[in-house]
């Protein structure tokens, strides 16, 4: 019934909970700030995740409200640039009560850990999430070395 591991686990759970609460203090204070990750400085938009899958990189970016025509992705070597413009206009003949989502234009440039083969990059945009599959260029791929 009492095991040491689970006790430690519980303790960390409680700490995690406290951390989450503290992180949310800001979002409670100002809801529009609640968008950022807890302790992050929300300076760069859009937010991205990068995963290394061996032969390819997988980059996902959070870009709500943009159609694929409004989005531009530029790649050169290990340099990647995402830019776009979002227009948020109230629909016609509607009275505005609250407007938190603004029009914005953004550019974010990222440096990938290795060169990618820009010809083979594929991109999809679904539910406001942009996913890029970036195959590493031949020289950057991990190689199996056979031992003689």
């Amino acid at each position: 019934m009492y095991t040491r591991i689970s006790d430690i686990d519980r303790m960390f759970d409680a700490m995690g909970l406290l951390r989450g609460r503290l992180g949310n203090v800001f979002s409670d204070f100002d809801r529009t700030l609640g968008h950022g990750t807890d302790w992050h400085v929300s300076g760069s938009y859009p937010r991205t995740n990068l995963y290394d899958k061996g032969d390819t990189f997988e980059l996902v970016a959070e870009i709500p409200g943009l159609s694929k025509e409004e989005l531009k992705v530029k790649i050169q070597g290990n340099y990647l640039e995402i830019s776009g413009t979002r227009e948020v206009n109230p629909p016609e003949n509607y009275q505005v009560h609250r407007s938190e989502r603004g029009s914005s234009s953004f550019t974010r440039s990222l440096t990938l850990p290795a060169d990618v083969d820009s010809d083979k990059v594929t991109a999809t945009l679904e539910n406001g999430i942009l996913s890029l599959t970036l195959p590493k260029s031949e020289t950057a791929k991990p190689r199996q070395i056979s031992i003689n």
């Binding site: 519980r10 509607y94 009275q95 009560h97 999430i129």
Partner: protein, 125 residues
């Protein structure tokens, strides 16, 4: 007990069942004579993971986002979370004809006003 316990487990402590971060989605709210229109920003949430509840003058929006993760993370700036926000809506909303659509991570919620609540032009004889 053999004295090795670091902390003592308290009986009746409520277990933490959900650890998702809750975030209020950004919204735009518009109104015209026929309806109230709400746009909520919920990137990455699938259509089936959105719950919209209207009950007794309060509207609750909730959307769960679970992202697929594969490979080693080089960096991670956003993750799984729950979008949640509540609004109070006038009773004059026709609950049966509320419509919602999801496009590019934006939820558009049409809340039509019931006939009785629409403005009427009175003709003077």
């Amino acid at each position: 007990m053999d004295g090795k316990d670091l902390t003592q487990k308290e009986q009746g402590t409520v277990e933490l069942t959900r650890n998702l971060r809750q975030v209020a989605p950004l919204v735009d709210i518009y109104e015209n004579d026929d309806e109230i229109l709400l746009h909520a920003e919920m990137p990455g949430v699938q259509k089936d993971d959105i719950t919209i509840n209207i009950d007794n003058g309060s509207l609750t929006l909730s959307g769960l986002r679970s992202l697929t993760k594969e490979g080693a993370a080089d960096w991670e700036e956003f993750g799984d979370l729950e979008y949640q926000r509540a609004f109070s809506v006038p009773q004059s909303i026709d609950v049966n004809s509320v419509k919602a659509e999801l496009k590019d991570g934006i939820l558009a919620l049409h809340l039509p006003k019931s006939e009785a609540a629409k403005p009427r032009f009175i003709e003077i004889n």
